[in-house]
Symmetry: C2
Subunit: 202 residues, 2 copies
DNA sequence: CCTACCGATCGGTAGG
DNA sequence: CCTACCGATCGGTAGG
């Protein structure tokens, strides 16, 4: 199987359980049981439960840099904004457990300092990407001048989070089928288009 | 001091610690230490740690019904929407720990079922209040016809949550002073006005 | 990579 | 409302 593969299996099992039951609510025994390996393997490969958590974030965020350049080379600022949004909607669905976990970590004011620093780095890059698109739009006279980018990003990611996490409320079923997945995705994208539309000059 | 007062002290101490460190991350010993009372008091008054958590939600949400009628009797639909938003922004700031906790609870897909049911009741009422305002606005030809209320509510509450919880990112300081509190509140209200503006017919 | 085990801490309660 | 304590489980590791 190889050491690298085994580590990634542990990462993904832990990611899922942490997302569902929380970091404190998941014991290393829970993780070992779910992945059918020995408890001691976690210390063996990662050093500690805390370092396992950090490793999940390093693993998930290390590839984001490449994704940045690949996705939003669109010239038109509005198209670029929509493209960035659509990209993150896809990301939320594809790596749902991870983003649930990221959302949890940020919901604890006094905890997970190391992991939050990793997230903040990504957040800065996201803000910058949005900033460039907005500035381009402003220079072309398409977008309002008074747009506050960090607040706009908060609205966009807050909306994605709430809609993806509220799915159980919208459809009254936490384990929604593929059919509903697509419906939610459409709903988020439509909603974000409305948010972006609010940024356009009348 | 009276039994009722003591119970409320325990509720508020627990609320704060749960919000900061999570339900699983807070032991009944932590709560007892912070409130300078005996560990056994929690079982004595509430039965268990889990019932203490539920009691916090019952305590915080039992008064919401009265608040509904008192706040948004405004006739004009747009004014009413703004009034509801402003009310919840105030609520988030006044009962910050509670809403941080509520946000946490909802961030765990497989946990806190009892507490989530209490939240869902409130959520339904909130959706209904927004629904009435939106329908009134549509009948008067002010608001777009295609507004999806649950999604709109998700955008509004997602935005409030993210901005209030992202304060540390915006100001790079988790323990913001009163001056900054006011700044954040202004920012949220401005942002929500932009969201509502997106609902108006062009 | 597993067995066997450590000290610490957990939620909870019997008895007063 | 406190003391003293229970059994269970926690994260982690020595030794192989």
């Amino acid at each position: 199987m190889g050491e690298r593969n085994k580590k990634i299996i542990i990462l993904k099992v832990a990611e899922k359980l942490f997302a569902n039951n929380g970091y404190e609510g998941t014991s290393i025994r829970d993780i070992a049981r779910e992945g059918s390996f020995n408890t001691a393997l976690i210390s063996y490969y990662f050093g500690s439960k805390e370092k396992l958590l950090a490793s999940i974030f390093v693993y998930r965020l290390e590839r984001q840099d490449q994704l940045f350049t690949a996705y939003w080379d669109k010239k038109d600022p509005l198209e670029r904004l929509s493209s960035i949004n659509a990209f993150y909607v896809d990301e939320f669905f594809e790596k749902r457990s991870f983003f649930v976990l990221m959302n949890q970590v940020q919901a604890f004011p006094g905890k997970y300092v190391t992991v939050k620093e990793i997230c903040n780095e990504l957040q800065s890059k996201i803000n910058q990407v949005f900033s460039e698109a907005v500035e381009a739009g402003q220079q072309q006279g398409i977008l309002r001048e008074e747009i506050n980018v960090p607040l706009m990003v908060a609205v966009i990611f807050g909306s994605i989070s709430k809609i993806v996490f509220f799915r159980c409320l919208i459809f009254n079923n936490p384990d929604t089928s593929i059919k509903y997945e697509a419906d939610i995705k459409d709903a988020v994208n439509t909603t974000l288009r409305a948010v972006v539309a609010g940024l356009i000059l009348p």
